[in-house]
């Protein structure tokens, strides 16, 4: 066995060969699918629980508080305790609700974020599916989540849920444009939509440095738009506690509520890892073309650490947004998108295309 934290390709091939040597190719493939599924499920649960804890801690520090500190050292088992509590709660039946849609909605939301996660490159070789249209796939799949939110609001037989869901629909439909266009700016620079190639192209400098001004503008727009797309504050009008009790998941309890909650945090993680991969080089270490010694030192830090560091920083930024800015009104939200972000984004793409044509990027 050749286990190498800098390159997981040989490790994957070792598993593949081992499985193929003891069973038929079809069964080996099925076993691999199951292994990947279980690994992702565990990863999903662990990261989701950790992010909830991190959010509570970060929010507390930003408000000069201590945060959870009673369950376990520094309160690290707080979210696990919360999760066990949610598991044991009753699943309340809602009178006159659309039973099928009501039950299916949390699964649509969680499956959408689960599917999108599969295209994220975590490290060299740690990549479940490497589509040649990876970015398109992620945009398409992650926007499926809004269907689940709309269904949850519609089937709950509750006006607050419905208002929250409709707001969420309007919000995601508009901000999807900005997310797509800001990623398109980088696709213009990269010339590919395949995640592995996008990461590989940043070997001699991350895109945010290579594409300088338009890339920075695209990154800021992506950050704003993706915060809106994950329904997080300051764009959390879909669940606006002070107006709509809890928005689309008002009527959900127990594990179904936990699914919505987990999906929200995993969407944040997903968006942060897309931003890290596309703009900050994903698992690629920090390289400056020409400085061979410096690049060599940077290569000693494992790719997974780079990936986690960048993603963590962007998640921290999104938490900073949530705990700093007040919530936008629905008209302010749409004004921000249609009058500011979208025109700036369109001009930005033109600038980037011009830059690429003139070879003014690094």
């Amino acid at each position: 066995m050749t286990f190498n934290i800098y390159d997981f390709t040989s490790f994957n091939q070792w598993i593949d060969k081992g499985l193929n040597s003891i069973m038929s190719p079809t069964w080996a493939l099925v076993t691999e699918w199951v292994i990947i599924g279980v690994v992702f499920l565990l990863f999903y649960a662990v990261v989701g629980l950790f992010l909830v804890y991190a959010e509570r801690k970060v929010c507390a520090f930003m408000q000069n508080r201590v945060g959870p500190n009673r369950v376990g050292p520094y309160g690290i088992f707080q979210t696990i305790a919360d999760f066990i509590k949610l598991l044991m709660k009753e699943l309340v039946y809602i009178k006159d609700s659309d039973k099928l849609l009501f039950n299916i909605a949390p699964f649509i939301v969680i499956i959408a974020s689960f599917m999108a996660l599969s295209a994220v490159p975590f490290a060299k070789g740690l990549h479940a599916i490497d589509f040649d249209i990876g970015i398109l796939y992620v945009i398409a799949v992650s926007s499926l989540g809004v269907v689940g939110i709309l269904l949850a609001g519609w089937s709950s037989n509750n006006k607050y849920s419905l208002i929250g869901a409709i707001r969420s629909g309007a919000q995601i439909v508009s901000y999807e444009l900005s997310v797509g266009l800001s990623l398109l700016t980088i696709i213009v620079l990269a010339g590919t939509m395949q995640f592995s190639e996008i990461v590989e192209m940043q070997r001699n400098g991350w895109f945010i440095f290579k594409g300088h001004i338009p890339a920075v503008i695209a990154f800021v727009i992506f950050l704003i738009a993706s915060t809106a797309e994950t329904n997080r504050g300051p764009f959390d009008l879909a669940e606006a506690e002070s107006e709509l009790t809890a928005g689309f998941h008002t009527e959900y309890s127990g594990i179904k509520f936990a699914f919505f909650f987990l999906a929200e945090y995993m969407n944040m993680f997903l968006v942060a890892s897309i931003a890290a991969t596309v703009f900050w080089g994903g698992w690629m270490p920090f390289h400056i073309s020409g400085w061979e010694g410096f690049n060599h030192i940077m290569d000693y830090i494992p790719p997974f650490v780079w990936y986690v560091g960048k993603t963590g920083f962007i998640i921290w930024l999104m938490m900073l947004f949530k705990w700093t800015f007040p919530r936008l009104r629905i008209d302010q939200l749409l004004t921000l998108e249609w009058k500011y972000l979208l025109p700036i984004n369109l001009v930005n793409i033109l600038v980037m295309a011009f830059l690429v044509l003139m070879h003014w990027h690094f």
């Binding site: 000069n64 500190n69 705990w323």
Partner: protein, 159 residues
């Protein structure tokens, strides 16, 4: 042209104010020394309550075990839920006339809502707030307190 300019100045003003807000919360995040939360049971030994904290109603006594309560009963009349009972006594004064002094100032802590009307209305400022706040007891009768300390007397010249 004017509205065109306004569009861009709006963006810059918006970005600037957002960054100001983010710098405030960011500074809080990176300065854990500013945390104001009191972690109560752990810091019980060192906990300092604030001077204005309304823990319980007490009668202020000076070092000679003297207070300034003359037993007028205004606190009792002002108490909205009857947690104060003033039991006065009459003693012969210096000039031979009977004089009203306090015998027992009974305070039912279990009924008190800490509204502070008694402290506010006391004409001779005999009442005040104590800093104690751990009032839990196993027997309700122990919440009934006598505020004037045994053997205390009134300060000369207050009556």
């Amino acid at each position: 042209m004017n509205s065109f300019l306004k569009y861009f100045t709006d963006i810059f003003h918006g970005v600037k104010s957002l960054l100001t807000g983010m710098s405030v919360t960011g500074r809080y995040f990176f300065s854990p020394g500013q945390i104001v939360t009191q972690q109560y049971p752990e810091n019980r030994k060192t906990l300092q309550m604030f001077e204005r904290f309304k823990g319980e109603v007490i009668m202020l006594h000076d070092s000679n075990n003297q207070h300034s309560c003359n037993g007028c009963g205004i606190c009792e009349n002002n108490c909205p839920n009857g947690s104060i009972e003033v039991i006065a006594a009459r003693v012969p004064g210096e000039d031979g006339k009977p004089k009203r002094i306090i015998d027992r100032h009974i305070y039912h802590l279990g009924m008190c809502t800490f509204c502070g009307l008694c402290v506010k209305n006391c004409p001779s400022n005999a009442l005040g707030y104590g800093q104690k706040f751990e009032h839990a007891v196993f027997d309700r009768a122990r919440l009934t307190k006598v505020l004037n300390q045994p053997g205390s007397s009134i300060i000369k010249g207050v009556e």
